[in-house]
Symmetry: C2
Subunit: 216 residues, 2 copies
């Protein structure tokens, strides 16, 4: 099928168009997943909401699982952009870690339903998609790990195992979407302060935190 090959090649060549279509598909999918759940949302509905034909949609993604991965990659990208800005603005690992945790909690707040889907549905993914999802999560963890390692070297933190610490830090951020039903009396800022406080103290960065707070 030279036409199909040509079409895919054309699409693959036009990175900006792919990017635009992926954003379009992401937005449509996010809205539908949040409203109907991942399993009850059909690819046809996503195509309709994205103002694409099903055929057109399939030139940008291979399966419904790809859409879920797209969506998680977008969240990771948003986090990476936010973290890069923070790392440029401040060389202080304590400030960087705090900013990282706060950025994660804000993203988890913005994409609350999607984080729920991540925990509820990831076991239903085929192995290849799951491995890709794990890859996204590992990249996210590695950004926290790099900050912790820098902080250890600079004497800000005393985290014995930066990898384990980074996994725990990223995981604890999910308390906001996953335990929201038990956090109704708290707002995002209070929970964010609580998570930052327990984690910075937890890896020995508490003095910096207390100094910062005293200086507020």
């Amino acid at each position: 099928m030279p036409a199909a090959v040509r079409q895919i090649e054309t699409v693959v060549k036009d990175r900006a168009l792919i990017e635009r279509r992926h954003v379009q598909i992401c937005d449509a999918a996010l809205h539908l997943f949040a409203r109907k759940g991942y399993h009850l949302t059909s690819v046809r509905e996503i195509a309709q909401a994205a103002h694409l034909s099903v055929g057109a949609l399939y030139t940008y993604i291979k399966s419904k699982e790809d859409i879920l991965l797209l969506v998680y990659r977008r969240i990771l990208n948003l986090f990476q952009v936010k973290m890069s800005e923070t790392i440029v603005e401040s060389g202080d690992p304590t400030a960087q870690l705090r900013a990282g945790i706060e950025a994660t909690l804000t993203l988890y707040d913005d994409y609350h339903d999607l984080i729920l889907v991540l925990y509820q549905e990831s076991h239903t993914l085929r192995k290849e998609a799951l491995q890709q999802l794990f890859g996204v999560d590992r990249q996210y963890v590695s950004m926290f790990q790099a900050i912790i390692e820098r902080g250890n070297r600079k004497g800000h933190f005393v985290a014995e195992d930066p990898n384990l610490a980074a996994i725990m830090i990223l995981f604890l951020c999910a308390v906001w979407p996953l335990k929201r039903w038990n956090l109704k009396k708290y707002d995002l800022a209070t929970v964010s302060d609580g998570v930052v406080g327990i984690l910075l103290n937890g890896i020995g960065g508490g003095h910096g935190l207390r100094n910062d707070r005293a200086a507020d």
Copy 2:
């Protein structure tokens, strides 16, 4: 239907029998949920594995959701027994909190698949069952909260909000079943030490921890 009423009344009166049957149903369900998943396991299969007829099973539970609740209540009971022993053995809130976290991680290790089911399937429960499940979780949190409050009063901890701290502590224990795929290089003892360390330090109980470690 006077016969049915009489039968339920008889069953309800014999608490020891109900308890035995619930344990029997729990064991069968646990095994099947772990192997096939909650949704793919039928009540008929649970009855067979529990060596009961479907009719007999329904004199002890009203729905499949009741079985899931039974199972979570059992985990909470196991934790409560373990915590009561620890609280009797030690009046030290730092030791109690450490024991509570370690007991939770051990239970989460023993019932790994069930904790996954809890996070994956609880959104599919009807409202009443979900409220009961939340009740079990709140009881679990309140045991940690009581230790933190005692520790605050005795000067062991400086947790600003014991309720929020307890929610975060219980949640972080779930890193072991939920992020197991990313913790493959660690064993339970290492993760347990890591979780205890970050949390005790996190609420200002780290000095006690470090002293204990130095004394090892």
